[in-house]
């Protein structure tokens, strides 16, 4: 199939692997930021084909994984209100809140609907003028433009019953937090190709310079990842620290101007807490004053009690690349995709679920 098979060619993959093996002379730790990249790496077994010198650690770029418990709890509680229709992308439904997930809210009578686009949620609002639609706006810079567009259309068309529960997060502040944390091991990044398709890479240039880390904007197919790793290892070996672009078929330096314009009109940066990472200044988006009336949190100002994360779960360490999923005592035993303790076990993009579904187990168990 065009645009897929050519990026999965086994011969080319093994040629790039051979080059990486020749190039890498010292141990390097590289973080792939995005969960989609983690998914491909683990699913295809790429991390196991890499030479021992190159260690991949898995970043916080899975939107499902970093959405805090309190936000999931708020979504569950909104979903149970009879006047609310809660619309969400499918993979948020199984994310456990402190006691329930959205599937349970639906089983308890809540009107929870899976949509494929925020514009579908807008249609639900139009068709149900006597009820309020809450669209669960989760994701990075990638999903922000479509969500911004939906809110703008709701305002233009006077659909007052369309609201967003905003949990948007931004990549560069999270990379800064990881690099600034004591004990950081990350020496280079594969930057998320689809975030950069929207935003370009100018924001990443000061990070590369200040922290002297190579950053390679990388796609999601096996050959994209291998080429991104190859470019990163070359920079590391030469002592360079620049932003390079592997994902040339999708990304330009300045990003998508139209998408950035609508995001800037509808959203503004705010501080936001990340599951596993804690609060990070300037790392989230919220609706601007002009669109605040479409904010579900303003419309339904309920009190949600902050509940601590499971004490066993080491999601925070995993999301910072400081531990591997199978380092966790609960991995594969108390914590599985059927009964997840932490969010990285829920989404197939989460590092823990990716490891579990690929049959990776704790070393102690397999040896």
């Amino acid at each position: 199939m065009r645009f897929v098979d050519e990026y999965r060619d086994s011969h080319i993959a093994h040629a790039i692997l051979a080059d990486i093996r020749r190039t890498a002379t010292r141990p390097w730790t590289i973080m792939e930021v995005c969960g989609g990249q983690t998914h491909t790496l683990i699913r295809q077994g790429i991390d196991q084909l890499l030479p021992a010198e190159v260690e991949m650690v898995h970043g916080p770029g899975c939107p499902v994984c970093v959405t805090p418990l309190s936000v999931i709890d708020r979504a569950v509680s909104l979903a149970k209100r009879p006047e609310v229709i809660l619309c969400s992308f499918g993979d948020m439904l199984r994310v456990p809140g402190s006691s329930e997930d959205l599937f349970m809210a639906r089983a308890a009578g809540g009107d929870v609907r899976v949509v494929y686009s925020p514009l579908d949620a807008l249609e639900v609002a139009r068709a149900n003028p006597d009820r309020t639609v809450v669209f669960f706006a989760v994701g990075f810079e990638t999903t922000a433009p479509a969500n911004a567009m939906a809110v703008r259309q709701a305002k233009v068309q006077g659909l007052d019953n369309f609201t967003l529960l905003v949990a948007h997060v931004l990549v560069p502040p999270a990379m800064l937090a990881i690099l600034s944390a004591p004990g950081n091991r990350v020496q280079a990044f594969l930057a998320p190709g689809h975030v950069c398709t929207v935003m370009g890479w100018t924001e990443y240039e000061p990070i590369a310079e200040t922290f002297h880390v190579p950053i390679v904007v990388t796609g999601f197919e096996p050959l994209d990842l291998l080429e991104g790793i190859q470019m990163t290892v070359r920079q590391l070996e030469l002592g360079r620290a620049e932003v390079e672009n592997q994902y040339v078929r999708s990304v330009v330096r300045e990003g998508n101007a139209a998408a950035m314009r609508v995001v800037a009109e509808v959203f503004e940066p705010c501080d936001r807490a990340w599951r596993g990472l804690g609060p990070i200044p300037g790392s989230g988006l919220r609706l601007t004053e002009a669109y605040r009336r479409h904010d579900a949190e303003e419309r339904f100002p309920e009190v949600v009690v902050d509940v601590p994360e499971s004490e066993v779960c080491i999601a925070g360490m995993v999301l910072q690349g400081r531990a591997k999923p199978h380092d966790c005592p609960a991995f594969g035993t108390d914590c599985t995709p059927e009964h997840p303790l932490g969010a990285p076990m829920v989404s197939t993009e989460g590092a823990c679920a990716a490891y579990f579904l690929a049959g990776r187990r704790r070393e102690a168990v397999t040896s």
């Binding site: 199939m1 999965r8 295809q44 992308f89 199984r94 994701g139 059927e338 989404s347």
Partner: protein, 349 residues
């Protein structure tokens, strides 16, 4: 209503974990298996039920009778290539055919929601009748119930079916042996993606139609061509779940090649877009067959000569080892193909 009190159970049936039934309990994946194992099998007992085949095979006066039932709740009720009526007939026919039986008689129960357009009901019934003719079965009894508006989503259909297993035919998911070959009869994931794309309002290049079809003829052709150990139609949970069920029932390892599974291009494209794996997507006219190694080629040839099996492929082999399914990836790695907990969920990005 009977005025007899229901017989008291001597000990309470243990409840599966969780306070309420979730959608995942009906997905054909792990939650369904858990419900069957922890609630249904202990409650009813019996070797026939515990075998968990597509249909039970019971002996009546020296004749082996295959017996099965299935419920159909698909939304939307009309989708590209078929509808809930044909699905309800073919699903039950295929459950019988997969046990090597010749399907003969069906029953149908219709649960209708008040307000359902009579035209829709007419279309569904006509489609059921046509499917019965195509599958050479007779619908001989039925039942109709109407529930108040809001009590059902338009129309649900349940069917039950009876068939006779010819003398000498022995197939079942527990019969796979090391050295056997694993065959898939057609492109996987087509039905699920056709339904999903209609539900989501997504359109793809090239017309995508449900693959729903009676598999009786194909099953008969396979059985005639060689030693077929097990057959299953890969409905909910897709071929991945069926392979796991066979590996579990026979206590063997199945190794399959990811690139050997036939998948139509529009289905691949849709799955790439939605973040789904076609091996887990539902089919309604595709079966997995485990065949004795030496008979693999003649059975494959027989499948390809049948209209329902023209793109049949050998996708893997049965080996001795722990009950599991291993998949070789395109890049040369391997990973286990596990049962999913519930339905696959479309990803955020």
């Amino acid at each position: 209503m009977s005025d007899h009190a229901p017989p008291a159970l001597l000990c309470p049936v243990p409840l599966p974990p969780g306070d309420a039934v979730l959608l995942g309990h009906g997905s054909g994946g792990k939650l369904t298996a858990e419900l069957i194992r922890t609630l249904f099998v202990p409650a009813f007992g019996g070797a026939e039920l515990a075998r968990l085949g597509d249909a039970a095979v019971v002996e009546v006066e020296g004749v082996r009778v295959a017996f099965t039932t299935d419920g159909f709740v698909v939304t939307p009720r009309f989708f590209p290539g078929s509808d809930i009526g044909a699905l309800a007939v073919n699903g039950t026919v295929n459950d019988l055919a997969m046990m090597g039986a010749t399907p003969m008689f069906l029953s149908a129960g219709l649960i209708l929601e008040e307000g359902l357009p009579m035209e829709d009901l007419g279309r569904v019934v006509a489609s059921m009748a046509e499917a019965c003719r195509a599958a050479d079965v007779r619908l001989v009894t039925g039942d109709t119930k109407v529930v108040e508006r809001g009590g059902a989503d338009g129309l649900y259909v349940t069917t039950a079916g009876l068939g006779v297993v010819p003398t000498g035919v022995e197939v079942g998911p527990e019969r796979a042996r090391p050295g056997d070959a694993v065959l898939v009869s057609g492109p996987v994931g087509t039905h699920g993606v056709a339904v999903m794309s209609r539900r989501a309002g997504i359109e793809f290049d090239g017309e995508l139609r449900s693959d729903t079809a009676p598999l009786t003829g194909l099953a008969r052709a396979l059985l005639a061509a060689g030693d077929v150990r097990a057959m299953r139609d890969a409905t909910r949970g897709g071929v991945a779940s069926v392979l796991n069920e066979i590996a579990d029932a026979s206590r063997v390892t199945i190794t399959a090649d990811e690139s050997a599974f036939p998948v139509l291009d529009p289905v691949r494209a849709a799955c790439e877009m939605l973040g789904l794996d076609p091996l887990y997507v539902a089919n309604e006219g595709v079966c997995v067959a485990v065949v004795a190694g030496p008979d693999a080629e003649p059975v494959l040839a027989a499948a390809r000569a049948h209209p329902c099996g023209s793109s049949a492929s050998i996708v893997g082999a049965v080996e001795a080892g722990p009950a599991s399914v291993r998949l070789r990836t395109g890049l040369g790695g391997t990973r286990p193909l596990v049962m999913l907990a519930g339905d696959q969920l479309p990803r955020i990005c």
